[in-house]
Amino acid sequence: MINQVYRLVSPRQLEVTYSNFSLNSEHVVVRPTFLSICAADQRYYTGTRGKEAMSKKLPMALIHEGIGKVVYDPKDEFEPGTQVVMVPNTPSEEDEIVAENYLRSSKFRSSGFDGFMQDYVFLNRDRLVPLGNSINPHVGAFIELITIAMHSILRFDKRSHARRQTFGVWGDGNLGFITSLILKTLYKDSKVIVFGKTPYKLDHFSFVDEVYQIDGIPEDLELDHAFECVGGKGSQYAINQIIDYIKPEGSMSILGVSEEPVEVNTRMVLEKGITIIGSSRSGRVDFENTVKLLNDYPNIQEYFKTLVGSVNEVKSIEDILETFEKDLTTSWGKTVMEWKI
């Protein structure tokens, strides 16, 4: 079958390309229904990834957050019409110690190869997770981002000490929102405090115990553990602030991506015996856990719905461009595409 793939060829320029796929392969065929734009996609779209990365990776279809419905399974294991979330990480080997998202041989959609902006997506059988019928599709569109927080929390849970009276979350953006919401859901008796820069964004965090602007943190405040969800240049300040406020032997999870290396106050990391846990992307098991979380706690979905910035019907390349441009001027929430191209 001739499949249309909508690839970014240079900054702000998309073209339709065609690739031939056989239905009689090992792949399950999924029609994307709702997709969501990630900051990483925007770095490619606007060309801020740097010349070398751009010339190495483009042309490439963007988007690694999305859901769809199964339209064809050569083995008949998935019923046509089954709603699924698509897993962008694509491993080519298994390792008993190293998780699939840390294997150097794994490929990632819209980073190492074509993302979900296609007429149909051909996926390996283990790269889709059924959603059930109770998940709102607009929230479903950015489940992948929720799995990032879920993955980091489960990693943290295995590696940190057991005293979890107070969590700090740095970052008042989408990831900060998701991480603090899951912490508050999974650790009911713990106190969750969010630290951010922008008052109107912090106003969205109604479910946490306290919020502080980063220049107004009480000096005697202390945390058992912390999550950095800032990224970019700001992650340096966030990490060093965490080092200042975290109690000895606390754990700090770093989730924010920075293009440049950052300076860290290692003296205090050593003196306090802080554990730093790096966390990136997610794997199938995190998708399963996240779908379960959304089904087990219907109320959490209501909070996630408030994170939907806009839902945009996409029927043409012009619509894709308009939606990416709109997302660039949106300061809060996720931009969702209803994929009708």
């Binding site: 690739s19 031939n20 056989s22 009689n24 029927k315 191209i341």
Partner: protein, 237 residues
């Protein structure tokens, strides 16, 4: 019920000296008609997908379906008629005989040699034919269209903004199409080769669904070259 009908009745006289109909020519190792059928299989709204073939090519069509797609109980190969409309009617007669025709039944017909159609085009054909009696797929005319009866002197140059180029799918409310077609005289049937035109002449509102420039019909050696080129475009990484 929603049916699909893939029209593969042609024998490819414009393709030059080849010994099989053009729909069987391969692009990237797969016959064009298989590429087209696969796009329809991926839409689960179709109850049955009929493939209309010249009688002598029915076995061949079944063989390549088996080879490339395998068993699929939604696919049926039906013998075509003497021209395009008669072929559409052959499919409809098959539906009538096997399942009976209900008043809300619709059919999406498509050229077997247009393998580049998209999910959107099929979906919008279905959505619109459920609301209108007939649907045509078209793109805005790129070139200026000239009208000339003798091919020598221009009679008229219509305003380009009002001109569209017809593609397929063409979709129909089955009973509406059958009634209009049966009301034509034998001569009219010979002249009116386009089923949407029949509906339009009989006063039906024929809804336009936006096609795509790349939804080309592969009928000449040039088209084949274009189709192969755009598909085999290998992007260097």
């Amino acid at each position: 019920m929603i049916y699909a009908e893939i029209l593969a009745g042609g024998k490819g006289t414009r393709m030059g000296n080849i010994n099989m109909p053009k729909q069987f020519i391969t692009i990237d190792g797969t016959p064009i008609i298989i590429h087209t059928i696969e796009k329809f299989i991926l839409n689960d709204r179709f109850e049955k997908i009929l493939i209309v073939s010249p009688k002598e090519w029915i076995n061949y069509t079944k063989d390549i379906i088996k080879k490339h797609i395998g068993e699929n109980d939604r696919l049926v190969v039906v013998e075509g008629g003497s021209d395009r409309n008669e072929s559409i009617m052959s499919g409809i007669h098959y539906i009538e005989k096997e399942f009976g025709i209900e008043d809300d039944d619709v059919i999406v017909t498509h050229d077997s040699v247009r393998p580049f159609l998209t999910h959107r085009i099929i979906e919008e054909n279905i959505d619109e034919v459920l609301k209108h009696g007939a649907v045509d797929t078209a793109i805005e005319a790129v070139d200026t269209i000239l009208q000339s009866k003798d091919g020598e002197i221009i009679d008229n140059i219509p305003i380009r903004d009002t001109m569209f180029q017809g593609q397929t799918p063409q979709s129909f409310h089955i009973n509406t199409l059958v009634n209009h077609y049966n009301a034509l005289s034998g001569d009219e049937k010979t002249i009116l080769t386009d089923a949407c035109k029949i509906c339009a002449l009989k006063g039906e509102n024929v809804k336009i669904v936006k096609g795509e420039l790349f939804n080309i019909k592969i009928t000449t050696p040039y088209d084949l070259k274009v189709a192969k080129a755009i598909l085999q475009e290998r992007i260097s990484k």
